[in-house]
């Protein structure tokens, strides 16, 4: 059995690290032993550490590093992939894209594991038509709090409690999910630059159904809320041929840059973000149709920059991502204004539409709008301001994404996830002694 090593762990936002006993996973039976022999601090699975807050850390606990179990296989006949929980979407794409398949849902980074994608029930630019990752999972193999291995299918409530369950129902060891056929590794992208938030939102509303993928970037510094909408579909062979692309199925995304190791606090400030946003806005044409972009450039632009989370300096950053129903669409503008008022510079502000949610009690997406903004943790008044925004959002039935959250209160969480008690009931059948615990579950009293 691999040795436990005291290791400081934090989320992608690099705030509030804690120290846990980190153990490399090597087999389901070893994981079952770790669970049955765990200390009172509990056990938690960790993947590639891309959740922004405290979901994949657990002070004093045994944290199982799942990234050492990475096998997966494509089954082209029934269009599915069966993968170890620790297999990364990055590696899976490198294998399946050249063979003509793509993951059903892709987050803003491919440096995530299958287990993490299920636990956070990730969503992508196609949520409005395809739902979240969990909707495409057909089987989950999990080890519960008693150390027993279960195979869960969508008919089982324990399956849905695990989807979006933030790793608190057990340690997923492997899963099967469906994949979609593609003809090339390119996306045909239409770009629309719009000069205010209202036009962006109405364009998203009117035209979302025309494309598989849609997302809007908002210039958070501009008072008008101007931005750029990009929409795309997988490019056909014919489209690639007409653009003279050779080997349209080849796929080999590379790191193009690395963020410096030491960044002074305050590098990202109102001025630098204003300059970046101005450039980013100007870089896009008012309108462009049918540009072919590589999958990596379209879905995972930041994966090209290694450790980009370091640019926020030593205090780290957080991402505020919330969802509100259509009836409260005005809150998008309210939140953007409020963040601008306190001078919170965000260069990654993303707006998109969600389709209906799924049956997982803790899954984040629900019909309506979602906005995500990266915010440096050092801004004064940030805590108070976000608490006020939490109130506004929860009052209209909206909520925050647990994979991003690092600061909401337990009361706000419980109020905005009304199926929490139902989820707890199912969790207790899988983990009666609450062996599975994270800093997030302690902070939110889940």
């Amino acid at each position: 059995m691999s040795e436990a090593v005291a290791t400081q762990l934090s989320g992608w936002g690099r705030t509030t690290p804690t120290v846990a006993q980190l153990v490399e996973a090597n087999s389901p039976s070893q994981i079952a032993n770790l669970i049955t022999q765990s200390s009172s601090r509990g056990v938690l699975a960790r993947g590639l550490g891309r959740s922004y807050g405290d979901a994949a850390q657990s002070g004093g606990a045994t944290v199982v590093d799942m990234t050492t179990m990475t096998d997966f296989s494509l089954n082209p006949e029934n269009m599915s992939v069966t993968a170890d929980a620790g297999a990364s979407i990055d590696n899976i794409l490198r294998e399946i894209v050249p063979r003509g398949f793509f993951v059903p849902v892709s987050a803003g980074t491919r440096i995530i594991t299958v287990g993490g994608a299920i636990a956070a029930d990730i969503h992508g630019k196609n949520h409005h038509r395809d739902g979240s990752f969990g909707a495409h999972v057909t089987e989950i193999v999990i080890i519960n709090g008693r150390g027993e291995q279960l195979t869960l299918a969508p008919e089982n409530p324990q399956f849905w409690a695990t989807i979006g369950g933030m790793g608190l129902t057990g340690i997923i060891t492997s899963a099967t999910f469906t994949v979609i056929p593609i003809q090339s590794s390119y996306i045909s992208v239409d770009t629309e630059r719009l000069k205010d938030l209202e036009s962006i939102m109405s364009s998203l509303l009117e035209r979302d159904h025309e494309y598989r993928y849609t997302v809007a970037w908002i210039d958070s510094v501009s008072p008008s809320g101007r931005g750029v909408i990009t929409r795309g579909d997988h490019a056909t062979i014919a489209q690639c041929d007409s653009e003279g692309i050779k080997n349209p199925e080849s796929y080999d995304p590379k790191k193009i840059a690395s963020a410096p190791g030491l960044v002074p606090p305050g590098l990202l400030n109102k001025l630098s973000v204003r300059a970046f946003n101005e450039g980013w806005y100007r870089k896009h044409p008012r309108s462009r149709i049918g540009e072919l972009q590589r999958i990596g450039a379209f879905f995972h632009p930041l994966d090209g920059v290694h450790d980009w989370n370091r640019i926020y300096g030593p205090r780290g950053f957080l991402q505020y991502q919330f969802q509100v129903p259509d009836s409260a669409s005005d809150l998008i503008g309210v939140v953007l204004n409020k963040l601008r008022e306190i001078g919170a510079p965000s260069f990654l502000t993303v707006l998109k539409r969600f389709g209906p949610g799924n049956q997982a009690p803790l899954s984040f997406p629900q019909s309506g709008w979602t906005l995500a903004a990266d915010l440096p943790a050092g801004i004064s008044e940030l805590g108070r301001t976000l608490d006020q925004l939490d109130e506004l959002i929860s009052a209209v039935g909206g909520r925050l994404y647990l994979a991003k959250d690092s600061r909401q209160s337990p009361a706000n969480f419980a109020r905005t996830y009304p199926r929490l008690d139902e989820w707890r009931g199912i969790r207790d059948t899988m983990d009666p002694n609450h062996v599975f615990a994270s800093d997030l579950s302690r902070r939110l009293e889940i």
Binding site: A6, Q8, T16, R41, G316, L318, R443
Partner: protein, 252 residues
């Protein structure tokens, strides 16, 4: 758990009537607090401290019975506090000033001061450190004093206990490296409190609220030693190196 902005949910005060500790809790974002334990000997002033915080709508404020001198009981009391749920910040705030002249005439009074300020702190501090290490996060705030920086004629019994406590806390911090737990040593100068109300004020005197602000900022920044007020650091650096004949001529 601390949130991403470094704001605590749970605090344990050992020496629950300490004005500096109470001011520190008031300085923390109140609506984030879920659990505040005030540990001390059962007394009207402990009840008053609990009532004071409850009146501010701080959630989960509770007294717990704790006697610094009764070191045999420290382990069980601290374990019970941590068993219920994680504690983000522990403030080691108990201590007595005593009376220097009485202590010189009656060494048993000096022993009393040493027992509370030093022995009690060593015992409680080690128990707290064990639990912080176990949970992999959290900070022990130790209320030291500039009186420990260099012993003075007028209060060297008290000063020596704080010197011992300060050295202990420095070593404890070193022992907690890479465990996720931290120690923050706070060295206030003269603070206007019940403890000092009978004494003439010294230069750079502060209020408990000023010290509290310094503590809360230091916690967020993850500092390991702070003076209150901050510039006392430089004054004390000067005093520590002052030749003895000059130092002794300073007004006590």
């Amino acid at each position: 758990m601390l949130d991403a902005l470094g704001e605590p949910q749970s605090v344990l005060v050992l020496g629950g009537t300490s004005e500096i500790a109470l001011a520190t809790i008031k300085e923390m974002p109140r609506h984030r607090l879920r659990r505040v334990l005030l540990a001390g000997r059962p007394s009207e002033s402990l009840d008053a401290a609990v009532a004071q915080l409850k009146a501010l709508n701080i959630a989960g404020v509770e007294p717990i019975e704790f006697d610094a001198k009764n070191t045999d009981t420290h382990g069980a009391i601290i374990d019970a506090a941590f068993d219920a749920s994680d504690i983000d910040v522990v403030i080691l705030a108990f201590g007595v000033l005593g009376d220097q002249m009485t202590a010189e005439e009656d060494p048993s009074h000096a022993v009393e001061i040493a027992t509370v300020n030093y022995t009690g702190s060593v015992s409680a501090g080690l128990h707290v450190a064990r639990r912080l290490k176990n949970q992999g996060h959290g900070t022990l705030v130790v209320l030291s004093s500039v009186a420990g920086d260099r012993a003075r004629r007028s209060n060297f019994v008290y000063g020596s206990t704080k010197a011992g406590l300060d050295a202990f806390a420095q070593g404890l911090d070193a022992s907690l490296e890479k465990t996720g737990a931290h120690v923050l040593i706070v060295r206030p100068g003269f603070v206007r409190t019940r403890m000092t109300s009978h004494l003439p004020e010294a230069p750079m005197t502060t209020n408990p609220e000023d010290v509290a602000k310094i503590i809360v900022t230091a916690l967020k920044k993850g500092k390991s030693t702070v003076y209150a007020p901050g510039p006392l650091r430089f004054v004390m650096a000067g005093l520590k190196t002052l030749p003895k004949p000059l130092f002794r001529k300073l007004p006590s």
